[in-house]
């Protein structure tokens, strides 16, 4: 086995699919997480996105509902 056999691609969706998904669903039906820094979040973010900077993800995972799909950017 080579190095790459120990990695799986992370599934990503293009912006237009995310836009359609957010239009179809109610805000309570998904977790939408902005993992950037607060300064970037303040400069503009997706509607309803929750700010959890990447370094805080592990300690704040409980803020996300594990039964709902999660979208991060």
């Amino acid at each position: 086995m080579g190095v790459l056999d120990y990695f799986r691609p992370v599934s990503t969706l293009p912006a237009e699919k995310i836009r359609a998904f957010l239009n179809e669903k109610n805000a309570g039906e998904y977790n939408l997480v902005d993992v950037r820094q607060p300064e970037e979040y303040e400069g503009g973010h997706l509607p309803g996105a929750k700010l959890i900077p990447v370094g805080e993800l592990e300690s704040r995972l409980k803020e996300l509902d594990p039964h709902k799909p999660t979208i991060t950017y």
């Binding site: 120990y6 799986r8 912006a15 995310i18 370094g55 993800l57």
Partner: protein, 185 residues
Amino acid sequence: MEGGIRAWKGLAASGVPEAGMAHFPPDSPPSKLTALAWLLEKGTQKFYGEAASGLQDSGAARLFAELAGAEERHKGTLYRIHLEIAGAAEDPQFPESVFPASSGPEYMEGGVEVAKALEWTRGKSPQEILEFALALEVNAYDLHLKMEQRMADPRAKMIFALIADEEKEHLNRLQEHFIRLMTPA
């Protein structure tokens, strides 16, 4: 979301190399995982070392040089774990002795090819490169936590947990510098 906020705003994504998520088959022996970690540290060290010279921000360049040094120390620690697992005093053939496929292209954290990542950094701003490094360190943290869970030997477990903590510290330092760059003087 592919392309992040730039894609959402209808802007072109910057073609940043995509990192994968570490996944170990159930029968992966600890010796092989240790060699894999060593190879990824080596690739990440090379990335930080070479990317540092192209960074247009002296603070970020210094930080990258320090991180390259930290990855070198991790390599030494991983080599010692390997010797303990193998019950050997020396292994000059490491990592090829346990990871024969290690002579191909060099990879770093996230399974990203080092040469492609370095190529991508050309012409990129310090912020873009730091953002990529943040993603790298998240992957490194995740990888070492997963490895810690897979080690049976208590000392190996402890060392992988320590390396994971250090990768998290790297993440924090990169975040601090990233915020500093974004904050107008």
